[in-house]
């Protein structure tokens, strides 16, 4: 495909299954995702919708098995790359930051040593060069008095400070793509804003693309250019942040946005989406949102909707958006 050459990351029809006692459980069911160089794409959805599994699959770090599909990064299929070559990409060209900065650092080494380890591994720097570079990185991610912090252990740093260290490790080798798996979920709100601001400035400086995994729609609106909404292992809506937030086309996205509290009109009860996410072992034959959907009609329970075009790049997997066959222009 010609389009894939211009893409930094191109995920095609990704399926990830988990082997459990209850049998094979599909967590990701045919996800397509493109990221252009320098672009910020947000993947949103509630817990268990498969967004983290999708992100982890890019690095092949998921416990589940990739049963179908491909993950092309700069033209190479990461899902089939041999382990040693994959290791060079992990941490080298693709950086990753995690949700829990508290537990993402090794408690028995100083943070400086952990950053130096990455630098010596991927860039074959000498010990003194790695140390200088580490100080530079710590300064860049906004850690005051890096000479002191370098020699401290993770338990001596605050959560926000640890997340900054994690970011320093992730960007140490100037990756082309940064995967941020809920980078601010475990932090308090003021630190969240600082961390997102840091990510934004690093992204501009290094020209990295960012795949942001989150369930925080506010973060998405401020940070991302494009957004993909996931539900029960499938993309249900995708488009520019503006399109998706202003003209949500899928009933799930509409309900999700409707559930956000409006600070100008405080209400006693926040609106919620009725029902529950279907268990991945018992997915309905048709649209997986159909049981909770206020607009469900006759094709929904039996047929699976594909992504129908709403306008331009804005697409939604909902039969409401299916172009009516009868309206097709018939030649005279």
């Amino acid at each position: 495909m010609a389009a894939e050459d211009s893409e930094l990351l191109a995920i095609r029809n990704l399926h990830v299954d988990f082997e459990t006692d209850a049998g094979l459980v599909p967590a990701v069911r045919g996800v397509d995702l493109n990221i252009a160089p320098g672009e910020t794409v947000a993947l949103v959805g509630e817990s268990g919708c498969g967004k983290s599994v999708t992100a982890m699959s890019v690095m092949r770090l998921t416990e589940g098995r990739i049963t179908a599909g491909s993950i092309h990064f700069q033209g190479r299929d990461l899902s089939r790359l041999p382990e040693p070559e994959l290791r060079r990409i992990r941490g080298g060209q693709v950086g990753m930051i995690f949700q829990e900065p508290m537990t993402s650092l090794n408690p028995v080494f100083t943070v400086g040593r952990q950053i130096e380890e990455v630098l010596t591994l991927h860039q074959q720097l000498s010990a003194s060069a790695a140390r200088a570079q580490t100080l530079e990185l710590l300064k860049r991610v906004g850690i005051p008095s890096p000479e002191r912090r370098r020699l401290q252990y993770p338990h001596e740093l605050s959560g926000g400070m640890k997340q900054r260290v994690m970011i320093a490790m992730a960007i140490a080798c100037r990756p082309r793509l940064l995967i941020a798996d809920e980078p601010t979920t475990a932090l308090d709100v003021t630190i969240q804003a600082q961390i997102m601001e840091l990510l934004r400035s690093l992204k501009q400086e290094f020209g990295m693309a960012v795949l942001l995994i989150t369930h925080d729609l506010g973060v998405v609106a401020h940070f991302a250019e494009r957004v993909l909404v996931m539900y029960a292992g499938k993309i249900v809506e995708q488009g520019s942040v503006r399109d998706v937030f202003k003209r949500a086309a899928h009933p799930y996205t509409q309900a999700l946005l409707g559930a956000l509290p409006d600070p100008l009109e405080p209400t006693l009860r926040l609106s919620a989406i009725p029902g529950r996410v279907p268990s991945p072992t018992m997915l309905p034959a048709g649209c997986s949102f159909c049981a909770r959907c206020a607009h469900a009609f006759e094709p929904c329970p039996t047929e699976r909707p594909e992504l129908f075009e709403v306008s331009g790049e804005h697409r939604a997997a909902c039969f409401l958006r299916r172009p009516p066959a009868t309206f097709a222009p018939t030649p005279r």
Partner: protein, 332 residues
């Protein structure tokens, strides 16, 4: 718990001159040492062990290379002399003991018990240390493999099942009789005893390491290390083993005591080290025929074994408390 403990020891654990200059909190090792010091019994045990190491090294030097105290000189006129007695005048001048006295008396052949105990202390200590070294390497390897690669299948069974059931099988052997059988078949050399004790005492360590690895595998910092492209061996040896060592260290300390006891028992039964070479066990065994006539022959080696085993156990207990974060917080 702030009772002062004797003289402040001069042991410096992991000094960080740079860090101290910058006024940074202590390393995990320093923290461990600070808590350990508060345990008076454990400190007592540690002093005994340090003294034992000094005695063993000095003893090996003075009985082996630069023979001041000769454990093999037979002085029949001076047999079965009580401790602190002077040599008889009938003795040839070149046979007289150094400093004109037998500090621990003599045995039935007139050999100096002091010289024999010195020689035996080195045997006991090296048997303990080497046997535990062997059991540590087997235990950490098997436990680590089972914990890290356990999920992988090897034919119909997983690696974890294979290794841990093997561990259970070895655990079922009556260890002491197994050692007796093996030692009876092998030539009675000290190295054989070290190896045999080592390969029959690794099971608890393997179980500890496996349990720790299973927990560590799920830790974010291990996933983070993988996401940074670190090779597997580096993750295992640099990131997981240092985090898994706490319970292993405690059980190894107590295992040293066990190994010393086992060696003494073997020597006592005559399966241990060959007679002209003294160990605490065979001094005890030789002394049992003279239990009423020369009680020092069994009291001295018996007390030495008791004190050393007790010291190792005390240090192990102290380490266990110092490594337990809950107790540590209460203590500080």
């Amino acid at each position: 718990m702030s009772i002062p403990v004797g003289p402040t020891p001069v042991v410096e654990l992991a000094p960080r001159p740079e860090a101290e200059a910058l006024g940074i909190a202590e390393t995990p090792a320093q923290q461990l040492w600070r808590t350990f010091r508060k345990d008076r019994l454990a400190m007592l045990g540690l002093y005994v062990l340090l003294a034992l190491v000094a005695v063993a090294l000095l003893g090996n030097l003075l009985t082996g290379w630069w023979v001041v105290f000769d454990p093999t000189t037979v002085r029949l006129p001076d047999k079965l002399l009580p401790p602190l007695s002077a040599p008889s005048t009938a003795l040839a001048p070149e046979l007289r003991p150094p400093f004109g006295s037998y500090p621990f008396g003599t045995d039935e052949l007139g050999r100096s018990v002091f010289a024999r105990m010195l020689q035996g202390s080195f045997v006991s200590l090296s048997v303990g240390v080497v046997a535990v070294g062997i059991s540590l390497s087997i235990g950490v390897t098997i436990g680590g493999l089972a914990g890290f690669y356990g999920q992988r299948k090897l034919g119909p069974v997983s690696i974890d099942t294979l290794l841990m059931r093997f561990t259970d099988v070895v655990l079922c052997f009556p260890t002491f009789f197994l050692i007796l059988t093996v030692v009876a078949l092998l030539p009675p050399s000290i190295y054989n005893i070290m190896i045999v004790i080592g390969i029959t005492s690794w099971m608890s360590i393997a179980r500890f390491v496996r349990a720790e690895f299973l927990a560590l595998r799920e830790q974010d910092f291990v996933t983070a290390a993988q996401a940074l492209g670190l090779p597997e061996w580096r993750i295992i040896f640099r990131h997981m083993i240092p985090n898994a060592m706490a319970p292993v260290l405690v059980s190894s300390t107590i295992n040293v005591a066990h190994a010393i006891l086992t060696e003494s028992a073997l020597s006592f039964l005559g399966f241990g080290v060959r007679p002209p070479y003294a160990t605490w066990g065979n001094i005890l065994a030789d002394g049992r025929s003279y239990i009423f006539d020369a009680p020092w022959l069994f009291l001295i080696p018996g007390a030495a074994i008791l004190v050393v085993v007790l010291a190792f156990n005390l240090v192990g207990e102290g380490l266990r408390d110092a490594l337990n974060p809950k107790l540590r917080r209460r203590a500080s």
